[in-house]
Amino acid sequence: MLHSLFLAVVEAPAAAAHAAHAVAAEPGIVEKFGLEWKYVVVQAISFGILFVVLYWKGIKPTIAAMDERTHQIDAGLKYAEEMKNRLAATQQQTEVALKEAQQKAQAIVAEAQKTAKEFADKQQKEAIEKASGLIAKAQEAIELEKKKMLAEARTEIARLVVATTERVLAKKLTDADRASYNETAARELTGV
């Protein structure tokens, strides 16, 4: 292909000279094909009008529609990219919010656990104090009851001893004993 073009270029001047001689000698191609310039001009004008009409009615709207579609596609792509960025930002914000919420939840749980532990400790302390108080009161009551029982037993024993002694003395004391005791008592009372 390149070789044939090269030959055509090299041989072109010679061919042109030969053609010039031939043209001068023979009728032109215009005459051969019967071309008339007025028809060519008319055809050119018709083609121009057709081109203008086609361009105005077909090509231009098509190009405009293609431009509009291209613009819409670009806008869609741009919108999709923006949405993608927004989605990424939203995901990032969501992750941050989730992380913060998780931290807050952990803090709340820790605070609740701490409060629960303090409350349990307080309850336990109060229960221990209450139990200690009850034990102390019970011991005190037991001690008082013990003292009361001992006192009652001592009193009862003394009463029984006195009653027994009185019965024994009532039987055993003779009149002489009583008279002698009465004399002693009289001496004691007169000494008052």
Binding site: T165, L169, D177, A179, N182, A186, G191
Partner: protein
């Protein structure tokens, strides 16, 4: 009512003071007081007489030593008690004896509200209280 009782009490005390001569209740003075009350009939005469009777009874009780005893008591012992009490209260005090077997042995002497006791039951009671 309270004011009337107070006035009756005051009048009874005045009448009681008139009835005592040398720390001893005089029967003549008491008779005179009763005659006065009967004659003049003061206000609230019943209340006055009740209060006067109570004062006389208390005073008579102070002049009498009631001796409770278990077993026999020699008259000399009673006389000695009367003398001792008269000396103690600075007034003549007589004794009246009454048997009280619950004492077991010993004496209990009451002069007014004062009680003197030397008896087996008293000592046993003191022993029971001290235990």
């Amino acid at each position: 009512m309270a004011a009337a009782a107070k006035q009756a009490q005051q009048l009874a005390r005045q009448l009681f003071k008139l009835s005592v001569v040398d720390n001893v209740i005089s029967t003549d003075r008491v008779a005179g007081v009763l005659a006065y009350v009967e004659k003049h009939a003061p206000a609230n005469a019943v209340l006055v007489l009740k209060a006067y009777h109570r004062l006389i009874a208390v005073e008579l009780a102070k002049s009498e030593a009631r001796v409770e005893h278990a077993g026999t008591v020699a008259p000399a012992a009673l006389a000695a008690i009367a003398a001792a009490m008269s000396k103690k209260y600075s007034r003549p005090i007589t004794t009246t004896a009454r048997a009280h077997p619950a004492l077991l042995a010993g004496l209990r002497v009451r002069v007014g509200d004062d009680v003197y006791e030397s008896s087996v039951s008293g000592q046993l009671a003191a022993l029971a209280l001290s235990v």
